[in-house]
Symmetry: C2
Subunit: 345 residues, 2 copies
């Protein structure tokens, strides 16, 4: 089982806000981020855990501000990040007076949070927030090596993005009137497909793309088979974040099954940094990458009418460093969220 779930009533992305670091500011999307950190990406904090928590707090505060809502208007916050025990979310969002649901989906967390938020807002509650983050310094230390070690990076390695994204979702149409964000078309979640975790046997902690691509292919193949739609029916299929290595594998895997996505495929990890000007090897990754690319660039394109119908496929490598040291493999997962322009608003 595992079918496309059609969202029974419109759930609007009322607002979104992004927080990013210096490398991200210097990339192609730099001008679109809402809040940029200080020069050392500490956000004024004395530990990386506090930094990432602060980034989540800033992102959600700004998104609430754009939506003209307060924390007490939220009926749930769904959040997660890459830190052990999701410390960025658990510590960063504790000051908000709202129910909290912690998620773990590795780099697929933004998609998982949007997916569950859309399901909840279409049936049980009216408004919620989806928040996720990653920080290069905290993630590299935890999953690979501390930055101070100066380890040489493999060509397949992706660069963990320093970024946090927050989205406010609502099923109340009147909310759209007050929001300063929703001038233009309103991004609306119309379908979701929950990913299956897949273990393709990848053991290389420096090749996340290869671990995630089979899951992304599985999700997309299931989606197009069930929906009978074609890639050309969409303006964009945004994966996040497979990077250079994983994007190529994804396109090969889907093509081998007769599904050619190459003309509309775009990967968050490939567009957040300059492939030639910034030394980021296989591209960006991290819970924050797909969140800030979606929020800063893609939703903006929906609001201005450049994109009216797209698929966001959030990909995650469910990697535990201890298991990797034991010689274990890295399962991957990919959750799909279909976002359209709401024609009625």
């Amino acid at each position: 089982m595992g079918s496309i779930i059609r969202i029974p009533k419109p759930v609007y992305i009322l607002s979104a806000a992004t927080v990013a670091g210096q490398h991200e500011k210097n990339g192609p999307l730099g001008e679109y981020f809402d809040i940029i950190g200080d020069k050392d990406d500490t956000f004024g904090c004395d530990t990386w855990e506090k930094t990432e928590s602060e980034m989540q707090r800033l992102a959600l505060s700004r998104a609430l501000n754009y939506a003209a809502l307060r924390d007490t208007d939220l009926e749930a916050i769904l959040a997660g990040d890459l830190l052990n025990q999701c410390a960025g979310s658990c510590y960063g969002l504790v000051s908000f007076d709202a129910p909290f649901l912690g998620l773990f989906g590795a780099c697929s967390t933004a998609a998982e949070a949007l997916l569950l938020s859309a399901l909840l807002c279409s049936a049980h509650i009216n408004r919620c927030a989806a928040v996720s983050s990653s920080h290069n310094a905290s993630a590299e230390r935890q999953f690979r090596y501390p930055l101070e070690y100066g380890g040489q990076r493999a060509p397949t390695a992706q660069w963990t993005v320093t970024g946090a994204g927050a989205f406010i979702l609502t099923s109340i149409q009147d909310d759209l009137i007050k929001s300063s964000y929703s001038k233009g078309a309103v991004p609306t979640i119309s379908e979701v497909l929950i990913g299956k975790s897949l273990d393709a046997g990848i053991k290389d902690a420096n090749n996340m793309g290869a671990a995630m691509a089979p899951a992304a292919a599985d999700t997309l193949l299931r989606y197009f088979k069930e929906s009978s739609l074609l890639p050309s029916d969409f303006d964009m299929i945004l994966t996040g974040d497979l990077g250079f290595e994983g994007s190529n594998i994804l396109c090969d895997l889907t093509a081998a099954k007769g599904l050619d996505i190459s003309s509309v495929h775009c990967d968050g990890g490939l567009i957040i940094y300059d492939r030639t000007g910034q030394d980021k090897h296989a591209g960006g990754s991290g819970c924050g990458c797909s969140a800030v690319v979606l929020a800063a660039q893609v939703l903006r394109a929906i609001r201005t009418g450049q994109i009216t119908n797209m698929l966001f496929v959030g990909t995650g490598a469910l990697m535990n460093p201890t298991v990797i040291q034991q010689g274990g493999t890295i399962p991957g997962i990919a959750h799909l969220v279909r976002i359209t322009s709401d024609p009625t608003s």
Copy 2:
């Protein structure tokens, strides 16, 4: 905001299965567990990560067996555990052919998974599984000290339970006919209340009960205020897992607000071990504790008619060991699930 969510159509707990270790087998509930580990609690694996993963796999396999269902009948698996990156769930459940949603709620994970499962099954899908686990050896190593270190335990310390619990939920009444588990009354989720994370300033990693009790009090006070019900309307209020220290604090905190829960309150951490015969200090804890107590004892009591109406309040300490070493505090959370006997089945 943050109100009681009434589940719009009955969601049945179709089956549940438990896996437990030797200490749990030797406790008061020992005879009720479905699968007991080998003498060293390794479950035949050569690392604790593999052990805990295997426990989740066994629990879900057995629960599916009881429900007379296969993995492909599930439209989602919602799961989490205490290991970094939820390794027990991510690795333990990858072999099941079903959509997967990873959760992080620390020891509240069983409640969070049941809560979200009930919401999804009442509106968007028909069947799903909720799975959680903990293992004494993996958790103590990760959060405090490796067992081999032999550190002296504080009187307020709780003992991480070696256990995994899996629940199969369905909204299809016909499923009840096939399930071997559902002879007798059928446990049915009728209401949920999502917890708010609260930071009471506790910094002691050996006093989880004190960190969680304020969140449990907040959730219960919100529930009884909104519902206008009384504790005496319920056969049981099961918290899990506050242990001795946290249970006393919870009863004091609620009593101070005029809510006396003492006559119906029961804590999973207090009943899983023998307070006098087993040297477990403040009682049990861990994602597996509330899961196995609920599955093995409380749902059994519902099926036999001893309990017809109860509240399950899953409590979690959202603790990150690195943050604790930095002098940080421990936020707590508590999710509420109301379980009744379905009168129609």
